[in-house]
């Protein structure tokens, strides 16, 4: 006998639950989300997963191909490089470094960018339009170029490249935040909050931020992919992380020396960067369309 459902529970999803429901429909984006979660897992538990120290040189295993090759060795799953360092461990540490640093940089530039953008958006008149046009002109230059210019001034090194990239990312956040804040400030519910006697800070945190959180998530995923690309590009150009450190871009440029003999030395870090970028971009894209369709329905 079927169970009688006398009391129909009505379920009213919140805006965030709605977004998640829409997001789940997009299978590519969902897979990418799992991929991103996997990278975050690797980032946190990397040292426990890696079989060897990334800098340890195994003299008896030079340029061993990956394990699935006929000449491969199962103790070095992804093979070794010219100095006998285990590729798998280096890539795990490399993901940890590249992904982790990008995440930290994006969070820092988000905090700075959002607070500056909020100030620009809430102010009126000449000051606001100066900020706007100055930022628009900076946004026209690619972030990598800005980062290279900053590095040319302060010198090479991982920490300097971190500074450079976070400085280059901030204008985008300011621009987006300013746009949204301006747009929301015209809404009637902000007017209503003003009539309640709310000050500017209160209006920003209580009326605008809840409606901005989702846009921020999208912007963060975009900025994250830009940051990963820039960090590895600077590492590849020897402007960022320097040679022995297992940063994915630096790994690529080291592998380039023995590219013909040992193509896996550039294929593996390249694949890691590719996977990272693709999953983050797909998650961002899925989030954006989920937000759009959520508003339509």
């Amino acid at each position: 006998m079927p169970r009688l459902n006398l009391y129909q529970e009505e379920f009213y999803p919140s805006p965030i639950q709605n977004t998640w429901k829409e997001f789940k429909e997009n299978h590519a984006a969902l897979m990418s989300l799992y991929c991103v979660i996997f990278f975050i897992f690797v980032m946190i538990f990397g040292p426990l997963l890696a079989p060897f120290d990334p800098l340890q040189q195994h003299i008896e295993f030079l340029l061993v191909p990956p394990a699935w090759d006929n000449n491969g060795d199962i103790s070095h799953l992804f093979g070794t490089d010219g100095l006998g360092r285990d590729m798998l461990s280096r890539i795990i540490y490399g993901c940890r470094m590249t992904f982790g640093i990008s995440l930290v940089l994006v969070i820092i530039s988000m905090l700075i960018g959002v607070s500056l953008g909020a100030m620009a958006g809430m102010s009126k008149g000449l000051r606001s339009s100066v900020v706007n046009h100055l930022l628009d002109s900076i946004m026209a230059i690619p972030t990598l170029l800005i980062a290279i210019i900053i590095i040319a001034i302060v010198g090479t090194g991982l920490v300097n490249s971190m500074w450079a990239i976070s400085l280059a990312l901030i204008p985008q956040f300011i621009h987006q935040t300013r746009d949204i804040v301006r747009q929301k400030m015209k809404k009637e519910y902000v007017l209503a909050a003003q009539l309640d006697g709310a000050g500017k800070v209160h209006i920003f945190f209580n009326s605008i931020l809840p409606n901005m959180a989702e846009m921020l998530v999208v912007q963060v995923t975009l900025a994250l992919s830009v940051a990963i690309l820039d960090i590895s590009a600077l590492g590849f150009l020897n402007l960022g992380a320097q040679a022995p450190s297992p940063e994915l871009g630096a790994l690529l440029s080291e592998g380039l020396a023995s590219a013909y003999v040992a193509p896996w030395n550039i294929a593996m870090p390249g694949a890691a960067i590719f996977l990272m970028m693709m999953s983050i971009n797909l998650v961002g894209d899925g989030l954006r369309s989920a937000l759009r369709y959520r508003l339509l329905r």
Binding site: A192, Q194, L195, D196, A198, P210
Partner: protein, 261 residues
Amino acid sequence: MNDLLSVENLTFENCHGKRWQRKGTKFTLGPVNFSIRAGETLAIVGANGSGKSLLAKLLVGLEQPDSGAIYLNERKLEQYDNKHRVLNIRMVFQNSNESLNPGITLSSILEEPLKLNTNLDSQARMRKVEQTLKLVGLLPEHRFFYRHMLSDGQRQRVALARAIILNPQVIVADEPFAALDPSVRSQTVNLLMELQRELGLGFIFISHNLGIVRHISDKILVMKQGKVVESGKTDVIFHWPKDEYTKKLVQAHQALISGQD
């Protein structure tokens, strides 16, 4: 009996554009004079662009008048005395959909004025929110809802709840019934009249619908291009309109009613 809210010689001059690129378009409002008592309803009628909404904004303090004064309980409302004004004059917006924040629950929406203007602790605030929701005919459970889960009529009720939650003396409403369909409109009108009776509110509202105006208002203010062309008791104006513009309005309304019957 004393006047609850009275307005004397209120004027406002609105220049479109910046001060340094001043163009010819200028809009002057007023001088406006009126007064209402507790429990009375004043309707503001007029064509689009006649300054009705501007008058509402002046009353709640969103715009500052150039001259004239607003007295609440015979005490003049100063320009920077916002707290007093917020607690006693509340506004209901035309589009309740726009005036509710989509990102937060109703309890946060209704809690906001309490947080900002009273010293109640969170439990007392919750109780007040529940009471007010019941008062406007919603359930206490509605406080967990978001805006998009409510119908238009329910949204209008929430907007009303937001206005009365601070126990104000005057409510200013800018076309509160315009966006509603007739059945929900009459529900809302009845709810408003009931609340007015219970709480003794002074109610100022802007409307195009002369049927509703005639039904609920005690006094009428007819405006045309920023000037008050006629004001007085509802019955008097509907039966013996003096001004040409008012005559046309009333005639149009009569024609509409007799056409329906």
